[in-house]
C-alpha cells in the first residue's frame, strides 16, 4: 500500500525525518537483510559495520570503484613529473658535470622516478578514497543516535534515506521490521544547524593569528631595509679562528697572516717567463717592473723594491696616477694577439665578456652596464663611469695594453687577473676589438642582406 503521507508545511523550526535505522547483532543477518532491501528496489540506503564485511558488496549490489584508475593516473603523473624535473633541472636549467656522469641518463633517473610515482599514487589512493567517500564529513545526523555508536564496535546497521523514491515512513518501517532487526529507529534533522563551541572558535582564531605571524614578519623584513648588521646565529662559523690575507698575527715574525712565496720557488701554474707576450701583453719585460704590477718571481728583487713601494703613499694620489699612466704609455705593448685568433676564441670572448665585463661596461661596451646605470641613479658621489670603448683614446690602445688593464685593473676597475685565465683575457680583448669595429663601420661596406637583417632587428 503506497499511500503518501500528508507532508506538513515546512517551517524552519520543524525537524525533518531523514530516514530509518535498523540495528542487527549478527553480520550474517545483516547480509540476508541487505539482499532483501536490494531486491525491494531501494536505491538510497546503506549498511554500517564495524569491519569490512565480506559478501556485503554483492548483497548490496555495490559497483566496483574507479579508485584503481585514479591511482594509475596519479602514478603516471608522478613519473612524468619526476623525469621532466630531473631533465630540466640537471640538463637544461642548471647543467653541472659531476664525476663524469652524463647530465641526464635513464639509469640515474630510475630511483627518483620510482619514488615520485609511488608517492603520487599513494596520494591518489588515500585522497581519492576520501573524496569518493565524501569524507571528511564531521557532521552526520546518524551520530545523534545512541545505538549507532555501536556501529563501530559490535553492531550492524541498515540506514535508509528518506529521499529514496520508494521511501515512506510507514511502509519502509514495516519492511525493515520484517527483516528481524534488534531495533528500528528514526533519525531526524536538527532544528538548528550545529555550531562550533565558542572557546574552540577563539582558540582556532588565535592559532590562525599565530600562524600568520612568521610569514608577516618575513614579508615585512623583505620589504624594508635596515642599518643594523645581521644577527650572527652561529658565531663560531661566522668568525672562524683562521688566518686571512690582510690581517696581522703574532704567529709569524713578519706579523703578516698572508705568507710570501718561499724563496727560489714558483707557485704551481705561475711560471710565466717562457711566454712574456701571452702573460703580460708586453714584447719583453721592462726594467721597472713595478709599474706593470708584475708578480715578481724573484724574491730578491721584490725585497729591494719594497722600500720604494713604501715611499709611494707620500706622493699625492693624483700625481701618482698620472705618473703611472705616463709610465705605462711608454711600455713595449704587443700590438698583435700572441695566440691564434679563431672563431672559437671569439665566441669564448663574447661569453666571458658578458659574464665579467658587461655588468659595468654594458653589452655594447658603451659604459652603460646595469651596475653603472644603478650607481648613477643612486647618485653615488664616488662612482666613476666606466670607460666607453668607442672613444678615440681607447681605440688607439694596443691589445697588450687592454690585456694589461683587464689583468691589473685601472682607476676604479678592479683587477681580473685572479679570476680570468690569460687565454680568456685575450679572448675578451678580441671581442672588445670586435665591438669597437662594429661601432665605426662604414655603412656602404655592409651587404644589402645584412642591412635588411639589421633593420628588421630594430
Amino acid at each position: 500500500m503506497a499511500t503518501t503521507i500528508e507532508q506538513p508545511v515546512k517551517t524552519k523550526a520543524e525537524p525533518e525525518l531523514l530516514g530509518l535505522l535498523a540495528e542487527f547483532d549478527d553480520p550474517n543477518a545483516l547480509i540476508e537483510a541487505s539482499k532483501k532491501v536490494r531486491d525491494a528496489g531501494y536505491q538510497k540506503w546503506d549498511t554500517h559495520t564495524p569491519f569490512p564485511l565480506h559478501g556485503i558488496d554483492e548483497a548490496m549490489g555495490i559497483k566496483w570503484t574507479i579508485l584503481p584508475w585514479i591511482v594509475a593516473a596519479c602514478g603516471l603523473t608522478g613519473g612524468t613529473i619526476a623525469i621532466g624535473m630531473q631533465y630540466w633541472m640537471n640538463a637544461v636549467n642548471y647543467p653541472f658535470l659531476i664525476s663524469g656522469k652524463p647530465l641526464f641518463s635513464i639509469p640515474a633517473c630510475i630511483p627518483i622516478t620510482f619514488e615520485l610515482s609511488v608517492l603520487l599514487s599513494a596520494f591518489g589512493a588515500f585522497f581519492g578514497m576520501l573524496v569518493l567517500n565524501q569524507l571528511p564529513k564531521l557532521y552526520n545526523p546518524l551520530f545523534k543516535s545512541e545505538a549507532f555508536r555501536r556501529a563501530t564496535n559490535d553492531r550492524f546497521f541498515i540506514s535508509m534515506d528518506a529521499r529514496d523514491a520508494k521511501f515512506s515512513e510507514i511502509d519502509s518501517g514495516e519492511f525493515l521490521n520484517s527483516l528481524n532487526p534488534v531495533n528500528v529507529e528514526e533519525f531526524w534533522s536538527d532544528v538548528e544547524s550545529p555550531k562550533l563551541p565558542r572557546n574552540l572558535k577563539l582558540a582556532l582564531s588565535l592559532v590562525g593569528v599565530i600562524l600568520l605571524m612568521p610569514p608577516a614578519l618575513v614579508a615585512y623584513k623583505r620589504s624594508t631595509t635596515t642599518n643594523s648588521p645581521r644577527i650572527h646565529i652561529v658565531p663560531d662559523m661566522d668568525f672562524q679562528p683562521k688566518l686571512k690575507t690582510q690581517n696581522t698575527t703574532n704567529l709569524f715574525s713578519d706579523g703578516r697572516e698572508i705568507r710570501p712565496n718561499i724563496k727560489g720557488t714558483i707557485p704551481r701554474g705561475q711560471f710565466k717567463d717562457d711566454n712574456i707576450p701571452l702573460y703580460f701583453g708586453l714584447k719583453y719585460l721592462p726594467e721597472d717592473q713595478d709599474v706593470v704590477g708584475i708578480a715578481l718571481q724573484d724574491e730578491k728583487k721584490a725585497d729591494e723594491k719594497q722600500p720604494a713601494a713604501a715611499e709611494k703613499p707620500a706622493d699625492p694620489v693624483l700625481d701618482a696616477a698620472a705618473i703611472e699612466a705616463s709610465k705605462l704609455d711608454k711600455l713595449p705593448w704587443v700590438t698583435e694577439f700572441p695566440m691564434p685568433v679563431t672563431e672559437k676564441m671569439m665566441a669564448r670572448g663574447k661569453e666571458r665578456y658578458r659574464i665579467y665585463c658587461s655588468a659595468c661596461h654594458g653589452l655594447g661596451g658603451e659604459g652603460d652596464g646595469l651596475v653603472s646605470l644603478r650607481a648613477m641613479d643612486l647618485q653615488q658621489g664616488t662612482w666613476v663611469k666606466p670607460a666607453s670603448y668607442h672613444t678615440e683614446n681607447v681605440r688607439k690602445l694596443p691589445v697588450g695594453r687592454l690585456y694589461h688593464t683587464i689583468t691589473n685593473g685601472v682607476r676604479k676597475m678592479p683587477a681580473y687577473g685572479a679570476q680570468v685565465p690569460p687565454e680568456d683575457r685575450w679572448a675578451i680583448v678580441l671581442y672588445l676589438r670586435a665591438l669597437q669595429k662594429s661601432h665605426e663601420i662604414n655603412a656602404d661596406t655592409i651587404p644589402e642582406a645584412e642591412k635588411r637583417k639589421l633593420r628588421d632587428t630594430k
Partner: protein
Amino acid sequence: MASVTAEPIDTTIEVPGKRTPLVTGAHDYGTVTDAVCRLAECKTPTAWYVALGISASLMGMLFGLIGYLIITGVGVWGNRSPVFWGWPIVNFVFWVGIGHAGTLISAILFLFRQDWRTGINRAAEAMTIFAVICAGVFPGIHIGRVWLAYWLFPIPNQMAMWPNFRSPLLWDVFAVSTYATVSLLFWYMGMIPDLATLRDRATGKIQQFAYGLFSLGWNGSSRHWHRYERAYLLLAALAAPLVLSVHTIVSFDFAVSQLPGWHTTIFPPYFVAGAVFSGFAMVLTLMIPARKICGIEDLLTDRHLENMTKVIIATGTMVGYAYAMEFFIAWYGGNRYETFAFINRAFGPYAWAYWIMVSCNVISPQLFWIKKIRTTPWMIFVVCVFVNIGMWFERFVITVTSLSRDFLPSSWGYFRPTIIDVLMLIGSFGLFMTLFLLFCKFLPMVAMAEVKSVMPRPGGQSDHH
C-alpha cells in the same frame, strides 16, 4: 569491562588442516573493542608515567645535544679524516632499517594473506614512522648547516641552484621522505575506523572532539568500506615495492662508490633483508613487554611471536648468506683491495665489531630453530635484543671499517666516537620510546577492525581464507 575467560590453548601447535585461531579466549567483537580501548580509556598505570619520564628526558637530552651541535659544529662528533661518515650515518641506517618491519607487515604480509599480521600491524606501523623520524634526524644534522637543509629538495632558492639528481644521497632524500609520507598515510588510513570506535566510546568532551576530528566522520558505511578496502589494497601494493626501494637506495649510498667493501652488487637485497631482520627484532623487543602490560595477550598470541621469530631466522640467514657471498667474491674477484678490505674487517683493528656482528646477526637467530626458544617470550626477547645490537654493529662495520682504510696507507685511521656520539644514540632511543609510549596511550594499539574481520563469525564462518 567484560572479563574474558576460556580454556587456554597452545597456539603454537598447528594441526594440519585445522587453523589455529588468531584470537584466543572467548572473545566476541565487543570484548575485542574493550580490550584494545582499555589503555586509552582507563586510568593510566604509573609505570607508563615513569617510562615516559625517562624517555622524554632522554629525548630532551637529544634535542639539547642537537642544539649544541648546531651552535658548535659537527666537530663535536668523532668524525675525523678518513672516517667522515661516523655514527650519525650508522644511526641513520640503523633506524631506517628498524622502520622496515611495519610496512613489511602491513603491506607484504597483507598481500601474502598472512592474517596473523592483524595483531601486530598497527604497532609495527607506528614504530615504522617513529623509527623513520629518528632516522631523519641524523642526516639532517650531519649536513652541518641545518638551516640550509632545504637545499636537498628541488625548491627554488636564491642561489638559483638545483640539487644533483645523479647523487644517491639525493635519491635517499626522496626515498626516505616518500617512505615516511606513504607509511604515515597507510598508518593513518588503517586507523580511521578505529579512531571512530574511540570517538563513539569517548565520554570526555576533549576526547570526543579529538577522536571525532581525526576519524573524519567515519560511519562504517559499507559503500565506504568497499572503497576503503580497495584503497588499502592499492596502498599495500604500492608500499611493498616502496619498502624494498628504500633500503635499496640506502644501500646505493654505499654501493655506487668504488670503495672496497662498499661496492658490491648484492648490497640492495642484502640491505633489505637486514632491514626487515632488524625491524622484526625491534617489533618483538617492544611488543613482548607491551602485550603483557596492556593485557592484549589474547590478540597478540604466542603464535604471533613464533611467526615473527621465523621471519627473523629467514632474514637472519639471508644476511648470513650475504656475508658469506661477499667474502667469497672478495676472494674470487681477485681484487687485492677488496680482499684486504674483508680480511681487515674480520681480523683487523675492528675485528671485535665484526665478530659481535656475526655472532649477534647470524648465530643468535639460529637459536630460533629450537621450538622451546621460539615459544618462550623472554628468550625471544633476549635474542631480539642481541639482534638489535648486531644490526647496529653491521652498519658500523660497513661504514667505519671501509672508510678507515683508504687506498693510501698514510691516510689510514682509527675511528673513536666522542661522548656526544654515544649520548645522541641513546637520545634517539628516548625520542623513539617517547613517541611509542604516547602512541600506546592515546591511539588504538591493535587494528580492531582488522582483528574482527579475521575472527570467526557467529555463524561459524571466517571472512578470510
